[in-house]
Each structure stands twice: as C-alpha cells, then as structure tokens.
Amino acid sequence: MNAHPPAAALRSANITPLARLDIPGGGEVVLHRGHAFIGHMSPPLGTSIYDLADPRKPRLVAQIAPKDGYSHTHKVKVAGELMITNVERHRRHFYRKGERIAAVTAELAGRLGRPPVDAEIAAALGVKEGDVADLRAGLARGYADGGFRVWDIADPAHPRELAYVKTGGIGVHRFDMDERYAYISTEMEGYVGNILVIYDLADPTRPREVSRWHLPGQHMGAGETPTWSGQRHRLHHALRVGDVMWAACWYAGAYAIDVSDIARPRTIGSFNYHPPCPEPTHTFFPLAQPLGGRKVALAIDEEHDHIPGQPHAFLWVLDVEDLTRIAPISTFHVGESASPYATAGGRFGAHQFQERQVGSLVFATWFAGGLRVIDLADPSVPKEIGHFIPAPATGHAAPQSNDIDVNADGIVCLLDRDCGLDILQFEG
C-alpha cells in the first residue's frame, strides 16, 4: 500500500499531516522502536508492521494473518522484543445471537401455534432474514480458538511465533503487557464476560497463568450470580502502572486493582457512574505526573448508538489521590459542531485515548470527530488545543477514528476502524 498526502482533512495549525495509508481498518495501533504495529479489524488481515524511519513514507515490512477466517486479531501490544496479538471470535456478538435461536423458535412456536419461519426468527433476534442461516452455521461450528499469540519481534520484519495460548469463550479483547507479564482481558470457562487473567512471560514460549480478577457476580462456576443479563458487565481491559492495574469495566466504571502480590489481585477502589451516565467505560489510566497538585487519572467511554437527549461519550478526569475514594473532577465533551461528519452516519463520540500519556496532553479518538488533543493543565477545566479530522474514506460517510498512539518525537498514528491510517506530526 503506497502512502499519499492526506486530502481534505480538517486540522488545527499544530498538527501537520505527513502521510495517509488507505489500509483496511483496525482496532489498535502501537508505536515502538520506529515501527507502527497495527491490529486489523477483520480477517483475512491480522497484524501489519510498518517501518516509520521516514514517517512520510511508511514501509510495510511484515503482515501476519489471523489463525483462521473466524477469528480476528484487532489488538496488539509490544514490550521490548515481545509482541502479543489477540485471537477473538470475529463478529462475536453477532454469532452469540445464534445461541438464542432455539429459545426464540420455541417462544414463537408457542405464540403462533406453528413453527416460525426464518423471517420471524430474524425479527425476534434483530438480524436480517438472510443472517439466520449464517447464525445456524456459526452455532454448529462453535468457536474454541480464542486466546493470544506471543511473538519475538527482535527483527520486526520477521516476527517469529513463540506461543499460542488458548483462553476460553470468544477469546481475548484488549490487553496490556510488559516484558514479564501479560494482562489479558478474556472470557474463561466458568465465568460470564471478560475477566482479567495474568500470565507470566518469564519463558515467553510457555506463558503461565498466575492469577485472575473478576467483577463480583462473574464467576458463575463458583456459584456467583450476576445481577445483570448476558455479558453486560465485564472487564474491557486493564492497564498496569507500578503495582496498580487500572481496569475499565463495561457499564460498571473504573476499578483500581492492587497487584503488588501478582498472584492475588485485590480491588482497592472503584468509581461507577452507571447510572446516570449511559455509555460504557472503555479505558481507565493515570497521568504520569500530578496536575494542579493532584494525582489524576482519565477514563473514557465508548460511544454507542446515539439516543436523543443522551450525551455523546466523553472523557472523565478523576482524582485518584486516594484509590479507595476515586472521585470525579471534571468531564470533557466535544460538540457536534466540531466535526462536519458528526451527523453524517456512523458514530460520533469518544472511544479511546493514547495509553501512557506524557505531560498534561491527552490525544483522544472521537470516531467521526477524528482526533482531539485536550490539555488538562487545569484538570477542572480541560481545554481542546488541537484536532485532526480525516476525510471519510471512499464509500464511507464519516471517518471513524478508533485508536491512536504518539511517540516521543510527536509522531502521531491515527487509525480508523473502517479504513485508513493517518500519520501526523504534532507540534504542541
């Protein structure tokens, strides 16, 4: 894929576009040692690695396919000379609807007094009539490949697979890692929804599970009973800083977990703002330095389908001086007037920020709002100081900026979930 100058992007003066790659969309981008590691959203593409020695001319050096056509590998993390990629059922929530076909068919038959036709089953499941056969096929096929793969990337152009670890259920979503441990968000037998499973990478060819953490109610195999339906409350992912894991939990808020004893993760405190706030918590992470004399963390929600009267997903600024009493300081919102694509279709609202920020700046993706750069110098009053909104890719009504990473030189990689990677220079 050849890079080209980006066309028709909207930007602030402190962000200069360097190159645009019209590559298939992705879930995560990581910058590491002069390379961009990209997890693509859908098979047959899995992971792409680009050499950014000249960020105006990114050069594809390696591609890794998913394990099979039914899995996707849309997340990636790198530490030292190790890389981990996830293995998760592709279109997992769609195929989960197949598990309800028998119950829906029985309910409809009882109500109608005859066997239902596929159109009626489809309507009850909220899918198209033509999807029912696909759901049945998926149910018959099942899925048992979920997990993660560990790679040696000493030479990024030639990743070498060291291990494949099976986990459970639909497999692994986002995760964190360092050179010693992997902090995996995955489904596991006996639990409902994703939990945290920590693996020791001392021997990366044989990752070894050392501990688990879950929300109260998830461990049904041990007799716990969830107070919610389906997988509504689950871990999205947890990020480690020092001896604390910063965990974002779906519709359940932000949790701080003590991992000073790696074998026994322990909840320190949490802040749950559901209700009244409607969008699920996506990421929770502390800033490296105190701001305004306070230890500050960020949480960001992921935009859902928009309902009138509901705020678009936004950024939270939290006081984490005392982790047993996590408290909100402020919130930051982007108005629809800030992007010409806000109402063009697709999602408009927050999704993700650059994990591991430096200083008081937050680089956050806002789907159709593109990239927003927010200054938290005064954490009570966050202010936007830059933006970049890519032009929609061909065939799309709006950009869907999904993930972001920034390196120490101010090189920014902005990844769209549908199509495209923008490489930018931030001159803050």
Binding site: R232, G309, H333
Partner: protein, 100 residues
C-alpha cells in the same frame, strides 16, 4: 450498531424527541435544590457545544434527563428504543428558548 462491540443487552432507553426531553428535563432541573445549570452546560450535555462540565453539574443534568424520560414514558410510549439508526436527524437546539 457495531456487532463487534455491543451486545443485545446493551439496548438503549426509549427514544423521545430531543425537544420534548429538553423541555421536561429543564423544568425538572429547575425544581431540584441548588444552583440551576446555565444554558451553556445544557448545550454541552446535549452535544451542541464542546466544553468541560463539572461532575456535580453533569450528574444534575443526567438525573434530570432520566426523570424527564420517565415522565414522558408515563404520558406515552417512545419510539423503538435501541439501534435507532445513524445520528443524522436534524435536531432542534435543546437550549434555544423554544425548547425550554
């Protein structure tokens, strides 16, 4: 709706016209003890403007909107709830005088 992110269980609340929600919510919010939120805060909450919101203000507005939805649901059903389609509606301003 993104099949890769959201479950069926993530169904959203009943969907009423923004102007109805805004009118009811602002009426309710004025009756809550404490300082009434300014127009600018409502504009940020309803996505009309960018800006910061203090948590106490956000909580006040969110609870007012929840109460407004309940009030509206008692006076009639909303539109089909979840998966209401793209955000392409031509929405009236929630903070313009006509919406109060």
């Amino acid at each position: 709706m993104c099949d890769d992110c959201f479950d069926d269980e993530d169904a959203a609340p009943a969907d009423f016209p923004l102007e109805d929600i805004a009118r009811a919510a602002r009426m309710i919010e004025r009756d809550i003890a404490g300082e009434t939120a300014p127009d600018e805060a409502w504009a940020v909450y309803f996505g009309e403007a960018s800006g910061a919101l203090d948590w106490r203000v956000l909580d006040r507005l969110a609870r007012s909107v929840d109460a407004a939805r309940l009030l509206l649901s008692l006076s009639g059903p909303g539109r089909a709830a979840a998966h209401s389609g793209p955000v392409g509606d031509h929405r009236p301003s929630a903070v313009c005088p006509a919406a109060r």
